[in-house]
Amino acid sequence: MARLTIPAEEYMRSGHAACPGCGATLAMRYVLKGLGPNTIVAIPACCWTVIGTPFPTTVLKVAMLDNAFEATGASISGLRAAADALKIHDVQIVGFAGDGGTADIGIQALSGMLERRTDAIYVMYDNEAYMNTGVQRSGATPQGARTTTTPIREGSRGKSEPKKDVMAIVAAHDPAYAATVNVAFPEDFVKKVQKAATIRGPRFFHALAPCPPGWSFPPEKSIELGRLATDTNIFPLYEIEGGRYRITRKLGRARPVAEYLKVQGRFAHLSPAEVAAIQADVDARWKRLLDREALG
């Protein structure tokens, strides 16, 4: 049998309530493979609230705590405080929240958690809109994307603002470790999580989680789209440690963004000019990332 490239143990069960092809379930599955059984996952209101199935069942084989929408950062600070006070030492504490729950309503508690150096991991699984409530735009929705609150009409071309750069905001807090991960690259994903598990202090993951109904593409394309997101440099894979940037996947030549955009209904309305503008923006950001990496 070919050797497994990621740990065999599963800490997420089947029978969950995610849509077919859901990226957010793979994100949870890989995070838990990296952290193991002694993990406590704190989640706010988000897709995972429902994916986790209603009382009396649970989907995770590890402990899971629901907390308020705005307060995942505070929730994991509380869990760590209690673990320390109660002398529970062998425990990984993870906040696992959506993009809106992190970059919008939860950013204050996230900033607080990072600033007070809570020894915990915060994972933002990013499906790029408020998906649990039916695809409304969030701060992390990409520019130009159609959502139910950024419709396509005369003079309304999808989301008009650029996607909030959460990694930059997190990096400004000088975290112990931060990295982008993508469910289309499980080996890179789990390796970074395992590395983070050995580091103390506040750690952050920005995990891309493709969403078939939200981005309107056929469910079987979830992984393909994830791959394209990275290989077009729209979602580069890198890590930040001690302020130093390291890109963990570099292709000789990036694929054109059009390949990624045209497969998704949320971008179907884009004109060639709008696609070109996105390409230019992506190229500029990629260059900035290379510059940051070069800084060492």
């Binding site: 406590i40 609230t49 009382f55 084989k61 402990a63 705590l65 629901d66 308020a68 869990l79 405080a81």
Partner: protein
């Protein structure tokens, strides 16, 4: 223990220290600040080996406590006014998840306009959050009640959070003699916290979850059942505390000279002290007036209120808050409690002392006058600056 002259805020901090709280999380807000400062000192000096999470907002403070309680830690926080309002969402969460969090509140008026002075609008506005609510009259009562609150909140038949409120400045920053129990007394009274239904690393369990119309109501019923058990457990806890410290603060509705009274005024917080002096003065002049201190607002002491209605036929309720609507919140709750009583007393509502305005003896006397003469207006704002007001001396 020898008496110490300390503030209400320090009394709150001492109670948390004596209770050996394990996780504290708080955000500063006048006039609560010297509670959290004193606790920071206790922790920094090693006197209190707690984890103290200094958060970026009151909302986060309550989430830290809830999540810490979900692992079984004994938790404490404190707040006031705007901060308490920001916490509101999570106050429901704490009672819903049955986390026995204890919170000190220095009552402060609600903006706008901004006011750092006392009134009860902030904690009254939390009466629907499933928390046990005490209104203390003195720093001694603050300390004793806060310590008792841990025992009550953590009791197996209760498992509900509790808040101990104290009037801003009249108590929070007023120093007066207080008998601070010894650690031995506190340990004898309050055993270590043995939490149930908590999370443990390595165990598959989801605390909080979500639920459809099929079972939600049954979980809320459990909270209601617990609230009905509070009076009985509270009485037992107060008895136990008295056995150890010799002090008892008279249950949820202690009365003063109410055995033979024509009129009783129900008060909350420090207005009670002033009212007590007016009762003595009027009694000296042959007026048969009395006082009842609404010390526990949640759960409302329905039984004791009905008892009072049975023996007195003129009752006034002094609300030190305004919560919208036509009448005060305490008044409407007291009226509701008394409505089924066979003998229904004449009820009057007085609203006074908002935003830190003094409730002076003449004002209290006016209230008793209205009761004895049977004023026609059901609700009256006492001490309101009005054009027709003749300046009453004294």
């Amino acid at each position: 223990m020898p008496l110490q002259v300390i503030s209400g805020n320090y009394a709150q901090a001492y109670a948390a220290k004596l209770a050996r709280v394990q996780v504290i999380s708080a955000y500063p807000i006048t006039p609560q600040t010297t509670i959290v400062e004193k606790l920071a000192d206790f922790v920094a000096s090693g006197e209190l080996p707690a984890e103290y999470i200094k958060v970026e907002s009151e909302h986060s403070a309550m989430q830290v406590c809830i999540s810490a309680a979900s692992l079984g830690a004994r938790t404490y926080t404190a707040s006031s006014s705007q901060g308490l309002l920001l916490m509101h969402e999570l106050l429901h969460w704490a009672s819903g998840i049955r986390a026995p969090i204890v919170m000190g509140v220095a009552n402060r008026a609600i903006a706008p306009p901004l006011s750092i002075w006392t009134d009860h609008s902030d904690t009254i506005a939390q009466r629907d959050t499933g928390w046990i609510q005490y209104y203390a009259e003195s720093n001694q009562e603050v300390l004793d009640t806060a310590l008792m609150a841990f025992r009550l909140a953590e009791h197996d038949d209760v498992r509900l959070p509790a808040m101990i409120t104290e009037d801003a400045f009249y108590l929070s920053h007023t120093v007066e003699p207080v008998d601070v129990p010894s650690q031995e007394q506190a340990d004898a009274f309050l055993p270590p916290y043995k939490a149930r239904d908590i999370l443990r690393p390595g165990e598959a369990a989801r605390l909080g979850s979500y639920i459809g119309p099929d079972l939600y109501m049954e979980f809320r019923y459990k909270v209601a059942r617990a609230m009905t058990r509070v009076p009985g457990v509270m009485a037992a806890v107060e008895e136990e505390y008295e056995r150890i410290t010799g002090r008892n603060h008279g249950g949820p509705l202690p009365t003063y000279r109410a055995d033979d009274a024509d009129a009783v005024l129900i008060t909350m917080g420090t207005a009670t002290t002033t009212a007590r002096s007016v009762v003595d003065a009027l009694r000296a002049r042959g007026e048969k007036v009395a006082l009842a201190k609404l010390r526990v607002f949640r759960p409302l002491p329905m039984h004791e209120l009905r008892e009072l209605a049975r023996t007195v036929d003129r009752i006034g309720v002094l609300d030190r808050s305004y919560t919208g609507g036509l009448v005060g919140a305490a008044y409407s709750e007291v009226a509701g409690a008394m409505f089924p009583a066979r003998e229904r007393p004449l009820l009057r509502n007085f609203i006074a002392g908002l935003g830190g305005r003094d409730i002076t003896p003449p004002m209290v006397e006016t209230m008793y006058r209205r009761l004895l003469d049977g004023s026609d207006s059901e609700v009256e704002w006492i001490g309101l600056k009005e054009r027709k007001e003749v300046t009453v001396d004294g």
